[in-house]
Each structure stands twice: as C-alpha cells, then as structure tokens.
C-alpha cells in the first residue's frame, strides 16, 4: 500500500495539479568565457556577482574585466519597452517630415530598421578583484537566467557607420578619432562627423566629438572641450559609430536629441545593429 502511494505521489500527482502548483525548475545563472569553471550554476539565495565568480573558480588569466557582459531577461523586457518608445518617436518624426522632404525615405528606413532590433538585455557591470567587490555597490545581486560573459583582452577598435572602409583597426594607447578615421579611409560625405558615438567596452555609449564647447548637464555649465574633465578615450575593445547626417528632420528634440537617441539605441542593441 505504501509503495502504491509513493508511486501515485511521484507520477500521478503532478499530472492532476494545476500548472502553477507544480514545482518550478531551479533558478540557474550562467557564466562563460575567461573563467576557471564556466557553466550553468544553480542560483543560490542572495547570490551576487562576486559569489558566482568565486563558485566558478575565479577569473582565468586572460579575463578582461572592463569588457564583462551581463545579460538579464528582465532588463531585456525593459529595453524592449524603451525601444518601442523610440520607434514611436521616430515614426512621429517621419510623419511630420512628409513624403516630399528629401530625407523622408532615409528616416523611414531607419525607423523600420530600429523596429526590428532586438535588445540585448545588457546590464552595465564593473568587475574588479573579487575581494574588492564584496559588499561594494558593484556587487550586483543576480537573477534567474542571468548570463555573465568574460571576454579576453581585445587589441582592436571596431569602426562602423558612414566611413569608406569600416572594420577593426589596431588601437594604440591614446589613439584619437582623426587617426582611426584616416585608417578607415575617411568619412563618407553624408557622415555626421560631430555625431560620432563611442560605445565603450562596458556597454555605455556617448558622443565622442562635441565641438569646441559642450554643455555639461551634471555640472550645469558650458565647458571648453579642451579643458573638459573625463574626456572620453578610445581604447581597445571600444566601438566607434559614425552616423549619417539626418539633415533637416522633424525630430522634435533637435539634432542633439537625435544623437543621444542613437547612442541609447547602441547601448540597448549593441554594436553593429544600426544601419
């Protein structure tokens, strides 16, 4: 009788219970790349980046921490919504342009391509030695399905967009935009030279060229670019994206807002996604 009951419990009960009542699969996180023991790990209660890295045996010798990529399902869902909002704004701009404007077709094509982009779900992370991360704000708690990838150290800068010869080019320390653009054959005539975007290896994007002066929103002041603090530096593993000049468009926020939007799309969808 006991045996019969046990068989019933094991096989029959899950079948008669509603789906939600069945036990869910254990949450899992994945760690890949330059790590001692890559693989899928069961997510423990209170698990953070540092504890996962420790469980996976620590960094491999080639691990390049600034390029670490953490992909997260919930972030991907949030980015999908954000991308949908951007598409709506683009479509509104296309409608305002009207078909008689010369840049209309280009903007429409651009809106179409953004509509089909898939968000990466990348969460910015800043890894360091594990003992320094513990209890620090960088030691993010992990979620079910998180995927942490540790690349090896890159040697090149990726150059994309309105250039004659886009591709990957060696990154020398202190490399400047003109040198890299020259290596890539120079700007195409339709390039928005002032709108060049630097996508850093950590997934953050911002405008590289800002003219002779730029407004610093955080400090509430204009700054001469020559004296700007924290000027962006081009380093190995970074991606340079030169957009096309949008021309006179109906973009309500103006050209600066348009450029910021491009940078955000790159952050969401990753390099190589924009036309």
């Amino acid at each position: 009788m006991n045996r019969l009951l046990r068989i019933l419990l094991i096989f029959a009960l899950p079948a008669v219970l509603p789906a939600g009542a069945q036990s869910a699969p254990n949450p899992v996180v994945q760690i890949r790349g330059e790590i001692s023991r890559p693989g899928a790990y069961e997510l423990r209660k209170g698990e953070t980046l540092s504890s996962l890295i420790l469980r996976a045996g620590g960094y491999a010798d080639n691990a390049w921490l600034p390029g670490a990529v953490l992909l997260r399902k919930t972030e991907r869902a949030r980015q999908e919504e954000e991308l949908a909002g951007i598409v709506k704004r683009l479509e509104a701009a296309v409608r305002e342009d009207g078909p008689w404007e010369p840049q209309h077709d280009r903007m429409r094509r651009f809106a179409d391509s953004v509509r089909h982009l898939a968000p990466s779900g990348r969460v910015p992370v800043r890894l360091s030695l594990v003992r320094l991360m513990i209890h620090s704000p960088q030691d993010l708690p992990l979620e079910d399905g998180d995927d942490l990838f540790l690349p090896s150290a890159p040697r090149t800068v990726r150059v994309l967009g309105a250039l004659r010869d886009p591709g990957e080019y060696p990154a020398s320390p202190g490399a400047r935009l003109p040198e890299i653009v020259a290596a890539a054959g120079g700007f195409l005539p339709e390039a928005d030279r002032d709108g060049t975007i630097l996508l850093k290896a950590d997934g953050t994007a911002g405008r590289l060229s800002e003219g002779w002066a730029a407004w610093n929103e955080a400090l509430g002041r204009w700054e001469l670019s020559l004296f700007r603090k924290n000027r962006p530096r081009i380093e190995a593993g970074d991606t340079l994206f030169v957009p096309r000049d949008p021309g006179r468009s109906g973009w309500t926020g103006g050209i600066e807002d348009y450029r910021r939007m491009l940078a955000r799309i790159l952050e969401i969808a990753g390099p190589g996604t924009l036309p």
Partner: protein, 685 residues
C-alpha cells in the same frame, strides 16, 4: 524705474523654477570676503552649508572677514575693514587704525542655465555708517574654464557714496530704483581656472576712491584718482580648504588674501561609537537587567526598565548622544541584538533630570524585521511613533543613577571695538558642578577662570546701565558665574515649567521663571516668563547691590521649520532696562551646528543717552557641538555670540538654560521621517 523693480520681482520668482547650479569652481572670495572678483562681486555664491574666514590686504585697507553659504543661493558675509594710517580714536592709542564693521548679502535669484547667466543681487554694507555700501545686480556666465561677469552697482561701486542710515537699513535699489539707476556704474571681469586649484582674474573696478568722501582712507590716501581701474590676480588653493590670492590692484598696490573654507558641522575627526557588546556571562541575567546594563554601557543614566510580558518600557537619561533620535536608535540597536520578538510593544522615554521629554513607541515584530535588515528604515518608521504625549504612568525605579555631574570646558570670549583697543578677549575655562537630588531639581555651581584676560574699557556706563557696565564683571580673572537652584516640572498636556533662584548669571541674581507649551507636535512652542532681579556686586561674588531692582516679563514663541532646518523665535515684552518691545531670532541648524542672528525692536525713549536711544540690539551666535572635535558623540556644545556689550536696549538675563532650548531638540516634529542607523549629522563611521 518701477518697471525695474517689477522686473527684479519677476526674476526672483523665476528663481523658484530654475534648475541646477553651475557656480563651481568660481566661488573665490573678493577682497572683503563675499564671493567675487577682487573689489566687485560676481553672481556666484558659496556652496550651501559651507563657510570661510580670511584676511585680506591691499594697502591702505585690511579686511578681516567671514562668509557663509547659509541657504541655497544665499550668501552672507561679515567683515571689519581697517584703514591703515588713519587712527581710530586719536585720544586712545591702543585702538590702532580706524575700523568699520559691515555685513554683506548676496542672493542668486537666477541660477545659471544653458543659455542664461547666473543673476544675483549683492547688497553690501546696508546698515549703519554705510561707508562701503553698494547694491549691485550682477550676471555671471561660465564657459569652463572661463567665467565672465558683468554688473551694475551704486554707492561704493557707483558714482557717489551712500549716506549713513544710522540704525536703519538703506536699500535704494528697492526704495528708489530711479536714484539707484542714476548712480550705478558698470563693473565686470573674467576669471580663468584651468584647474580647480588655480585661477587668474582680471577685473574692471569702477570704485572712484577720490570721490569716496565718507571713506576715512580718502583724505589720507586717495586725494587723486588711482592710476588704474584694472585689477589682476592669481588665486591658488594649495589644499581644498585653503586659498591664497595675490593681486595687483588700482595699478599701484599688491594685494594678498588668505582664506580657509570648510563645511559647517563636518567633524574634524570622524565620529565613531563602537556598538555595545554584551558580555557572555550577562546573557544569563533576567531580560530587564540585561537591557539596563546594556543601556548603561552605552552612555545612558537613570535607567529604568520594566517588562510585563507584553510591553517593554524603558526610561533613560541620554547623557551621551547629541541627537535624541540617535539615542533612540542606539536603544533600538541594543534591543535588536537581544530578543526583540520577546515583547509585543516597546515604549522608550528619554528623560532629563527625571522629567520625561521624548517618547518613542513601536512593535517587537517591527523591530525584529528592522534589526534583521528585512524592513527598511522608512517602512519601520511608519509603524513607529515619536511623541511628547506620554501616558501617565508611575515612574520606573531607576538604576545607574547619576546625582552629581560636572563638566569643564575651555572658554574664549571677545570684547570688540572698545576705544581703548579694538580686539580684547579673555581665555580660560568654565566649569559647572550639578546635582540633581530629586526629580526635576538641580543645584548648580558655575565657576569661571580666565588667566588671559585683556577686557577693559574707557567707556563709562550709560544712562540706564543693564549691560553697558558689564566690563566691571568681565574683567575679573576668577568669577562665580552661577550658583542657583532650579526646578523643572512637567504637567499633562504637556506643559513645562521652570523656576530658578540664586545667582543666575555673572551680573544678576534673583528669581527667574517660565513656562513652555509645545503645540502641533512641537511645530510651535509657546510660553511666558519673567524675572525679578538685583545686580550683583562685581567685587564680592555673594553680595548684591542695593541700588536698584530689575524685572522682566515676556511672551515667547518659536516656530520650528525642520523642513528648512530653521527656527524662528519671538520674545516680546519688557526687557531688563524697562524698554518694551520684541526680539526676533532666526536660527539655522546644520548637522548639529546652530547659527543664529537676532534683531531687537524696543522703545528706547526711557534712555537719556544718545547711544541707546533708537538703538536696536543685534548680534549673531554659533553653537558648536564638541563632538565635531572628539571623534565620538557628546551632548556638550559651545556657544559663541558676537554682539555689542556696550548698549542696554533689548537686553535680557543670560539664562543657564531656557525651556525652549531644553525641549527643542526633543520635539517630535524635528524627528526624521526614517531611521537609517546613521548619525543624523551625515558624518559617521
């Protein structure tokens, strides 16, 4: 010109809606301390809750100044301007060169925006002799590392000096905008700060020295126009808090300005109070005993604990923690480390001399969650309550009772601007011996010793001397400051009462009594008080002078605005010299430091001397917690006041302790909206 006034009013309104600040790094001091170029102000203001003190010199002038960023976009400065080569009092050599006191204010009514400059109204020396007075509208726009300034000012910065206003304030920009416009001249300059530590400045100053007929320097030094109206300077900050400015001014003089700047209330040593660790053997004791010992080990005295199986009641006198809310948190931390789930309700009452001042109530389950970090501070605060309306319950038997207490602290007092010497002082120590033999009762002996004492005067006491003869008392090297008995009572309501009798302060003895009622959780304090006094004999600490009796009678009110960390006080009634009127005090709290300024308006017709007639008593005071220097918490605070001692209008008794100040820190309205286990000053380890 009415249009201009309207425009100014509109711009003031705009300020409410304006956004982020962009003043850094151009918050350097001008010659006289207010943020500016060299002789002229900019539209920049100091960071809020930062202050600086300094000394500047550009012959023949020397400036001794202090400035403070007391509210967002408001800066205030006080200074003494000394003019070399012009004796202050020809008959008294000790005073040295002539000196003028002044205060300056700046209000940045429009913050710098992307396309708009910062705009500020600078009011320089608006009161009294107004030798260096001006009102200026000034704009500054930054393209880092350059900062461009253009302004328009009258008076010192305009075409002619402004007249004295005696005891009144002069603000022509508002009272007569047409005259201001007609008298105003342009000024401006450029600053270049390639790094946060270094800056160059070039300035056009409109000051026409040879036309400043009210300036004592004019006849001695400026009979002809100065060679140049262009000034140049170099500013260097060797440390974040220290600045050295070198300049070439008026085309004829080198200038030097040395200043230091600090955040108000930032401890010199980080405050670190290690948490209480219960000895292992104590864990076997009854729960009430464990709590009692833990509180006593954490700086509480007169500790009473009772537990009826449901409610844990704690009464404790906070002898260590400057902020009452921190004292409550310390108790909560102690209980969290024990067995918070054991009791359902918790009541904490903080007492002083046995008088309950502040109550706190919460639940055991809430405390368990908070202690384990499962409930954030703001959520925990939602089901906790600070209150002064304490249920009438028999007092708990207390342990670790402290009946006799004492303190000794260094003391430094200044006596400024006497004709026989501008800067006089006394440096020594003051000590108090207190006994609290019964609930609310205090016996107090205060002794003062000043081995270094230069206080003296050539002034004679005025017509009705209640303070103008204070030097007779302050010149003594050793004095019995107080010897008094005091009783504080608390009645339901609550209503507080105090009566003190004895030698109440260094000048007066007698009886002083007052009441205080907190209303709306302490948002308002209302009260009344009065005193019946005789003057003490300066030559004998126990003898009283028989020449006259004095009495005061006041209605007191305080509005607490914790949202702005402000207190507004009004004291109206009969002052010591019999003058009727009111004293208005504004106090600002910054991380435990209290900055106050007061101004009195009294009927001075009963004075027959010209010094008191029409005089308004005014002064500033700062209260500094000693914890800023100790590296640990302490309730002790120093109070330093700067106010003329040579006037008798608007004077009151110098009380050992006023009820408003005793109750004030414990008012529920001042308690934080969340508990975060951090020091309320924001600086802790």
């Amino acid at each position: 010109m009415r249009t201009l006034a309207a425009l100014l009013a509109c711009l003031s309104l705009l300020a409410v809606a304006s956004a982020s600040a962009g003043d850094a790094p151009f918050t350097f001091p001008s010659n006289s301390g207010l943020t500016g170029l060299l002789e002229t102000p900019t539209a920049r203001v100091m960071e809020t809750n930062r202050y600086r003190v300094g000394v500047g010199m550009a012959d023949p002038y020397r400036w001794y100044y202090g400035a403070i960023g007391i509210f967002p976009r408001i800066e205030a400065a006080g200074r003494v301007t000394e003019v070399g080569g012009v004796p202050g009092f020809s008959e008294f050599g000790g005073y040295g060169d002539t000196k003028d006191k002044a205060v300056d204010f700046k209000f940045q009514f429009l913050r710098e925006g992307k396309y708009t400059p910062a705009l500020a109204l600078a009011v320089l020396d608006p009161h009294g002799t107004r030798i260096y007075s001006s009102q200026a509208i000034v704009a500054s726009k930054q393209i880092f590392p350059f900062d461009f300034t253009l302004g328009l000012g009258n008076g010192r910065l305009g075409k002619r000096p402004l007249p004295s206003t005696g005891e009144n304030f002069g603000l022509e920009i508002f009272t007569d905008p047409k005259e201001w416009w007609g008298d105003a001249s342009l000024f401006g300059g450029i600053q270049f700060a390639p790094t946060e530590r270094l800056a160059l400045v070039a300035e056009y100053s409109p000051v026409a020295y040879h036309k400043q007929t009210t300036d004592p320097a004019r006849d001695a030094h400026f009979r002809e126009p100065v060679p140049s109206r262009l000034n140049f300077g170099l500013r260097w900050k060797p440390l974040r808090w220290a600045e050295i400015d070198l300049s070439w001014q008026r085309g004829e003089q080198f200038g030097v300005n040395l200043s230091v700047a600090f955040d108000i209330g930032k401890p010199i040593l980080p405050i670190h109070d290690p948490p209480y660790r219960e000895p292992a053997k104590a864990r076997a004791s009854p729960f009430e005993d464990r709590v009692t010992e833990a509180l006593a080990g954490s700086g509480f005295r007169d500790v009473g604990v009772s537990f009826d199986g449901v409610t844990l009641r704690i009464e404790a006198r906070n002898d260590r923690w400057f902020f009452p809310e921190r004292a409550v948190e310390v108790i909560l931390e102690i209980l969290s480390g024990m067995e918070p789930a054991r009791f359902e309700y918790l009541q904490i009452v903080l007492t002083e001399e046995g008088i309950p001042l502040l109550g706190f109530a919460t639940t055991g389950h809430g405390l368990s969650g908070y202690g384990a970090g499962k409930i954030p501070g703001e959520r925990f605060r939602e089901f906790s309550r600070f209150t002064m309306e304490l249920a009438e319950a028999p007092p708990l038997p207390v342990r670790h009772r402290r009946i006799v207490d004492w303190d000794l602290r260094p003391s430094f007092e200044t006596f400024l601007n006497d004709p026989s010497g501008f800067f006089k002082y006394r440096l020594g120590a003051s000590g108090q011996l207190r006994a609290t033999p019964w609930r609310g009762g205090t016996l107090l002996l205060g002794l003062e010793g000043y081995p270094l004492n230069t206080v003296s005067t050539v002034n004679v006491p005025l017509s009705n001397p209640v303070r103008s003869d204070i030097v007779l008392y302050k010149k003594e090297r050793i004095a019995m400051g107080r010897l008094l008995a005091e009783q504080v009572v608390r009645a339901p309501g609550p209503v507080f009462g105090r009566i003190s009798a004895g030698y109440l302060e260094v000048m007066y003895a007698g009886v002083d009594a007052e009441t205080a009622v907190p209303l709306f959780d302490g948002r308002i304090l209302a009260g009344a008080g009065g005193s019946y006094l005789r003057k003490r004999d300066p030559d004998n600490p126990f003898r009283l002078r028989n020449d006259r009796e004095y009495h005061t009678l006041f209605l007191n009110g305080r509005l607490n605005l914790p949202e702005l960390d402000l207190m507004l006080d009004v004291k109206g009634g009969r002052f010591l010299a019999g003058d009727l009127g009111a004293r208005f005090t504004v106090s600002k709290r910054v991380r435990g430091v209290v900055l106050s300024a007061w101004y009195s308006v009294t009927d001075t017709s009963n004075f027959t001397d010209p010094f008191n007639r029409g005089y308004h008593d005014k002064g500033i005071a700062v209260e500094i917690p000693i914890r800023l220097f100790l590296g640990r918490d302490s309730r002790t605070a120093y109070r330093i006041a700067l106010s003329p001692w040579t006037r008798d209008a608007g004077q009151d008794l110098d009380r050992h302790r006023a009820l408003f100040d005793q109750i004030g820190p414990n008012l529920p309205v001042r308690m934080p909206g969340h508990l975060d286990r951090k020091d309320p000053s924001g600086y802790t380890e």
